[in-house]
Amino acid sequence: MAGDLAVGARPAAAAAGARRRVDLTGWVLLAPACLFLVLVFVLPLAQILVLSVTEPATSLAHYRRVFGSPLYLRVLATTFETSLVVTVVCLLLAYPLAYVMARRGGAVAGTLLAVIGVSFWTSFLVRTYAWMVILGSNGPVAALALALGLGSPPQLLFTTFASTLGMTHILLPYMVVALYGVMKNIDVTQLRAAASLGAPPLAAFRHVFLPLSLPGVVNGCLLVFALCLGFYVTPVLLGSPRDMMISQLIAQQVEELLAWGFASALAVVLLVATVAVMVVYDRVAGLDRLWG
């Protein structure tokens, strides 16, 4: 992104006039989309910001409460930590899967895509409850451990492990599709070219395929991380109370206490923290890779 700005600043003043007209056309074309975004995104967001400092009275009391209590910052930290872990696990699982789908194509890709699709279209609540049965103390995992003579397994359900597993399962399709979409457009002749120039398969993968697949990685991680930040039902049902996510506290303020001012303040803190993480992410991974 920083690179783009530098490029934009370079052209001579003479070219700027001609470019401005082109830019204007672009803006006209963009106007409907911008208007839509302003109406359904920017304005409500501004409203939340205003609510957080005006309801019930104009003050910063809500923010003092967020930063003054050990609860909210702790839960916020848990939320980011959980999202990070889930994103990394999703990436590690999805990358080989998407790689096989993209390289083999045909029936293999179709079958795998169908399996992922079925999982994706099953309600996340159903999938969460399914994990409760599978990991439960009378479930198949425990039965298998007993049958193999391993004795009863340690408590699986209502742990951070179960919570992470459930969220990974639910978010994995997003990562696979993001990676697959990029990988299947990678020109295989480039890999062959690398091979013909003497690169062993691993080197060809590392120097050719991996860099070309990075836009998918960047996109998938962003998608999964952002979606994960808003999760709370799955950790509540599968995890321990220590796995509580911030959206659960926000929902509680909105739905049970009608404290919309405080809920807005919590939401703003979450948003600012998320933007901060994205800025760091941009520095490290480069969001401009999204556009290939």
Partner: protein
């Protein structure tokens, strides 16, 4: 000059009006129902599922037959939507049910339509029927439920027994709600039910610390509580009486303990400013009569709050209900006058206690 001015104004007016028309045309189907005149309809906010089915049979059908007012349902019950409706003036529903503590909160926020005395005759109702601007309807209890096949002897009979992990070993689960857990803890610690309020929060948390390591899960959803005890994930749980009865009917070996069960009474209320308030109060006036209440409670094992409703309920069914006199006597209710203003504090402290 004058012509020109008129022309300008006309064009502006024309533009404004045509824009308004186009907007109205485009948004017409999206406009809230309140914007259209509907004299003989009432929108009831309901939980869905078996709750709505019971309401349909006990309230909606006979009400429409008697008054000609059509009933439409909107699910699920949403407390937050009440505030949104009143703030925006877009009414999706005209009448709903909430518990006494929520009713107190709604009252504090000015979200309740005053009871229409010309329709609901308050003085003719039973004692305790009115709380703020709501009219009592049915009660639900949350009580100790245990697996009979996993518990030795007579089984636990009180919260003190639930806390007694030596005499009653086994895995446990409680409802993830701060004031409920605090009340159980105080009862387990020997506080009499009628001395619970004002809640001794410090003492409650001290007692909760004792049981915390034995609570395998703090459940949040009714279906989750059923799954936990049905699948044997836990041996003892605090759950809703109607959910426990449902399990017992499915031959799951569970018993619901009425002693020290937490009873929540729910109240009909009307959101402030709804254009169909009259219809809503007519509906409430109908629904609180003994016969419709009895009809509703017979289907779901909730307890009628109109005492006369028991005249229409066979005794073997009445014994499954929270307001059956024998059960009501040994249970407890929260005091909304203390709990409503302290709810945010209790919730925050409980969340913090759970997370650490």
């Amino acid at each position: 000059m004058r012509d020109g001015e008129r022309a300008t104004i006309t064009r502006r007016t024309f533009l404004r009006r045509s824009t308004a028309l186009a907007t109205a045309g485009a948004l017409g189907p999206l406009l809230p129902r309140g914007a259209r005149a509907q004299d003989s309809i009432v929108y009831v906010n309901t939980w869905g599922g078996s709750w709505t089915a019971a309401e349909e049979a006990a309230y909606f059908k006979p009400f429409t037959a008697k008054t000609g007012i059509q009933v439409r349902t909107v699910a699920p019950v949403s407390f937050a939507k009440l505030k949104a409706q009143v703030q925006t003036g877009n009414y999706e529903w005209d009448v709903s049910v909430i518990n006494a503590i929520e009713l107190g909160q709604a009252e504090r926020e000015g979200l309740l339509e005053p009871i229409d005395d010309s329709i609901v005759k308050k003085e003719s109702l039973w004692p305790g029927a009115v709380w703020t601007q709501g009219i009592a309807t049915v009660a639900l209890s949350t009580g100790l439920t245990y697996r009979k096949d996993k518990t030795a002897g007579a089984g636990p009979r009180s919260w003190a027994d639930f806390w007694n992990v030596k005499r009653f070993p086994g895995t446990r689960s409680l409802y993830n709600r701060g004031y409920t857990a605090l009340a159980y803890a105080l009862l387990a610690d020997g506080v009499p039910a009628d001395k619970l309020y004002p809640l001794d929060v410090e003492r409650g948390f001290r007692k909760l610390n004792e049981i915390k390591p034995h609570i395998k899960v703090w459940w949040t959803q009714g279906s989750q509580s059923q799954q936990l005890i049905r699948d044997g994930e836990v041996d003892m749980i605090a759950m809703w009486n109607a959910r426990a009865t449902e399990l017992a009917d499915q031959k799951v070996p569970v018993e619901f303990v009425w002693n020290q069960a937490e009873r929540h009474d729910s109240y009909w209320f009307v959101p402030k400013g709804t254009p169909r308030a009259k219809n809503a109060w007519r509906f409430v006036q109908f629904a609180i009569q003994p016969q419709p209440q009895a009809e509703f409670c017979r289907r779901l094992s909730y307890g009628p709050l109109n005492p006369k409703a028991f005249d229409f309920i066979p005794p073997e069914q009445a014994r499954r209900m929270p307001t059956y006199p024998e059960h009501a006597k040994v249970g407890f209710v929260h005091d909304p006058t203390w709990l409503t203003p302290n709810l945010a504090m209790v919730k925050e402290r409980f969340a913090q206690w759970l997370a650490t």
